[in-house]
């Protein structure tokens, strides 16, 4: 079965192609096509997962491109990590397909939407089963396109256009880093197969300094894709896309691809302590940085987006602190609860036709399903004990603690506090208090939307139990057990870490409760007491503006400089050359006056010069 794992991405591709070519005729039917094909993929993924568990890893390959002696291959490989990712991706994608049927039912471009979803799912599934870096890179870019197309789905909106462009370009900057790292690695190792790379790196064939450089460059790719600082600005803007897309791409799958990349190449990173530090620090910084921005945003999707950035930073921090299992574990739980949150947010937006949380409120009673599932997601992400996020977060904190990165450990705790606070702020503002929406008649969403949410809520609540300090570390053993390159020892954590994490979470929730539910504390505490800080945070630290005034204007300036050179130097030189020729020509035609004497004079002077030259040189030229 494992060598036929290539079938999994094939079905979404088929869905994409069929809808692209015949979608026009099918109209409403197209959603069923998309759902059906993705469902098949999901089933196959589950089968692959169990086959892998039973029989171990496997795969198949063929030659794709030959350059002289060099060969590049294409194929599939199923390792525990890949199998896990397959299931996560196909499951979330399947659920989002179903959800979209309800959410997008009134959109006339439903077919296009489903075909794009198919394309993205195809690329994402193919990405996670790549046996080599080149193939990974190829699909890495393709998921970028899928994301680009879906962000720009409402193409007639200027914001959507700008956001799509920004997303593509920002991730491209990261991709170039990945490309350079990949090529450098290739010339060191002579192959891009993961196994060859790990063997070479493990054997110390790559010089230390270069390895660090390569690892950091690859990490730059992950930074771009996963919205890490400083390439994070595209991710909140990407919320211009339809909400199911945000759930699928910008929460659960594609943005996690960066984390997946680091995880998949973990041996490379592990061989370079400097690179690990970079990963950990960037991750940690992003985690807290994005969390602070999330505290003050008022757009429901943007809060979730910054929360995503922050959580991805968390995962990176875990990986950088050698917490391989912790990172992947959090990736999985996060995929579930964040997809859930987005879908629930989408459900809310669907109901109130607004994204501003100031204009919501009191929806708990009106949306009897959305409310509770949102609460579950919020609890999970806040790290409230017994929900999935609690276990994975705990794992991360333990990893940083054991790695001796106490600074990051503290950052992790603070970020967890912020997370709990802003998530509950969101929850309280949306679902409690009085009704502030302009839409009076708020209805619960149709069943096609609620069922996926319920499934995800279930997972968000319970998926943590596959790797707990109490019931065994099944996931960790499985993920790391198979590979000779991955070290894994489970840390029997000090209990106080877990306690601290829980306390922090409750503290955050409590604060949010006091401010937004009880209203016993001033809401505008920050904006009134520290207006400068508030403005800074509310405007996302002015990073967008910073980029605009530096990078964009610089590029534009170089461009104008170039066209200046073109117009006033290149063209002038050309004009000068042609002018000289023209002048010579007009001089010649002026001499052509019809006056015999002039002709004679010229002929004579020519002759005189020739004779002079002959005499001068003694008759030998």
């Amino acid at each position: 079965m494992l060598e036929n794992a290539w079938l999994i991405p094939l079905f979404p591709l088929l869905s994409f192609l069929l809808l692209l070519f015949f979608g026009k005729q099918w109209k409403e039917m197209s959603s069923h096509v998309g759902i059906g094909f993705t469902g098949v993929s999901f089933l196959l993924s589950v089968i692959v997962l169990f086959t892998q568990m039973a029989n171990g890893s496997g795969g198949a390959e063929m030659v794709w491109l030959t350059i002289g002696q060099l060969e590049f291959r294409f194929g599939v490989v199923v390792t525990p990590l890949n199998a896990l990712m397959l299931v996560i991706v196909s499951l979330v994608s399947f659920l989002v397909h179903i959800y979209s049927k309800g959410y997008m039912h009134s959109d006339e471009r439903l077919t296009t939407f489903y075909s794009y979803l198919g394309l993205f799912t195809f690329a994402m599934l193919a990405l996670v089963i790549s046996p080599n870096l080149l193939q990974l890179y190829i699909f890495w870019e393709l998921v970028g396109v899928g994301s680009f197309l879906l962000i720009g789905f409402y193409f007639y909106k200027e914001e959507a256009k700008a956001a799509a462009k920004k997303a593509f370009i920002m991730t491209r900057i990261g991709d170039v880093g990945l490309l350079i790292g990949m090529i450098l690695l290739f010339w060191q190792v002579g192959s891009l197969e993961f196994n060859d790379i790990f063997t070479a790196v493990g054997g110390g064939e790559v010089p230390e300094g270069l390895l660090t450089l390569i690892a950091i460059l690859i990490f730059v790719g992950a930074v771009g894709k996963s919205g890490q600082f400083p390439l994070h600005t595209w991710l909140p803007d990407a919320m211009e896309g339809p909400t199911p897309v945000s759930a699928l791409i910008h929460a659960a799958t594609m943005v996690a691809a960066g984390v997946y990349l680091v995880a998949a190449l973990f041996p490379v990173f592990e061989a370079s302590p400097a690179a690990m530090t970079v990963v950990a620090v960037v991750g940690g910084f992003t985690a807290i940085f994005a969390a602070t921005i999330g505290l003050v945003q008022t757009d429901i999707k943007r809060v979730l987006a910054y929360s995503t950035v922050s959580q991805l930073g968390y995962m990176m921090m875990a990986l950088g602190a050698a917490g391989y299992v912790a990172g992947v574990f959090h990736l999985m739980t996060h995929a579930f609860f964040k997809a859930l949150l987005f879908l629930a947010a989408g459900s809310v937006i669907h109901a109130v036709h607004n994204q501003n949380i100031e204009k919501m409120g009191g929806l708990w009673t009106k949306m009897r399903i959305t409310g509770p599932v949102f609460l579950i997601g919020t609890l999970a992400i806040s790290g409230v004990p017994l929900f999935s996020g609690f276990f994975s977060k705990d794992e991360i904190l333990l990893a940083t603690w054991y790695d001796g990165r106490y600074g990051l450990f503290i950052i992790g705790l603070v970020a967890a506090f912020f997370t709990a606070f802003y998530m509950f702020r969101l929850f309280f503002m949306v679902f409690t208090g009085e009704h502030r929406s302009e839409v009076t008649e708020v209805r619960e969403s149709p069943r096609s939307m609620t069922i996926p949410m319920v499934v995800l809520a279930f997972l968000a609540a319970f998926s943590g139990y596959i790797n707990t300090p109490w019931f065994g570390t099944f996931l960790g053993d499985w993920l790391a057990g198979d590979s000779e390159f991955l070290p894994f020892e489970h840390h029997e954590g000090p209990v106080w870490v877990m306690m601290a994490a829980s306390l922090i979470a409750f503290a955050g929730i409590g604060l949010a409760y006091l401010i937004y539910y009880k209203k016993s504390l001033q809401r505008d505490f920050l904006s009134s007491h520290m207006p400068a800080t508030y403005t800074l945070v509310f405007n996302k630290y002015f990073i967008d503006e910073f980029y605009q005034y530096t990078v964009e204007y610089a590029a534009r300036a170089v461009g104008y400089l170039g066209s200046f050179i073109e117009k006033y130097i290149v063209e002038v030189i050309v004009a000068a050359v042609s002018g000289v020729t023209r002048a010579a020509g007009s001089l010649g035609s002026k001499l052509q006056s019809g006056q015999v004497q002039t002709y004679g004079a010229i002929a004579f002077i020519g002759l005189a010069i020739l004779v002079f030259l002959v005499v001068w040189t003694g008759g030998y030229l």
Binding site: Q597, T598, I605, A608, I609, F612
Partner: protein
């Protein structure tokens, strides 16, 4: 200073003087007459070079015939014509420079020429020698030359003759 050298110097100076006058005088007829001086001086030089026949021919043809023809030419076209002073100054300068360049180049080569021998018998019956050569060795060029003369005669008449039709029109 031998008499020969003296004669050469005088004649050469006269010839050059005639040329320079030709360049600098303003009236066309004067220019022409100054050249007669040059031609005559050249004839004298021919005598110095033991070429009496050529000298006579020079006097007859150049100083006589050609000059007269030219004078006719002047009279038939425009009398008292003067050389226009305004010429193309740049062109004159350029041509002058070219001429000077040419002069010095040739001067440089001439200086290096030296031939040892000197013909001795040229002045003895000069005309007879020429006659014998002309009618024996150079008979064909000589006859051809007569053809040239004939053709030029006919050609000159035809060119100079007024076109009949044109004349008719003008009348």
């Amino acid at each position: 200073m031998s008499g020969e050298l003296f004669a050469f110097l005088v004649l050469a100076l006269l010839a050059i003087l005639g040329g320079i006058l030709m360049l600098n005088l303003t009236k066309v007829i004067h220019m022409l007459l100054s050249l007669v001086l040059t031609f005559l001086a050249i004839a004298g030089l021919y005598v110095l070079l033991s070429a009496e026949f050529v000298a006579i021919a020079q006097v007859l043809i150049y100083s006589g015939a050609i000059t007269i023809i030219m004078i006719f030419g002047i009279m038939l076209t425009r009398h008292n014509d003067t050389q226009k002073t305004k010429g193309n100054r740049t062109r004159n300068m350029v041509v002058g420079a070219g001429v000077v360049l040419f002069f010095f180049t040739m001067y440089f080569s001439i200086n290096q020429v030296s031939f040892g021998d000197q013909a001795t018998s040229l002045h003895v019956e000069n005309t007879k020698q020429i006659g014998i050569e002309l009618y024996s060795k150079y008979i064909i060029p000589f006859e051809l030359m007569s053809v040239v003369l004939l053709v030029s005669l006919v050609g000159a008449i035809i060119l100079a003759k007024r076109d009949d039709e044109e004349e008719a029109e003008q009348k």
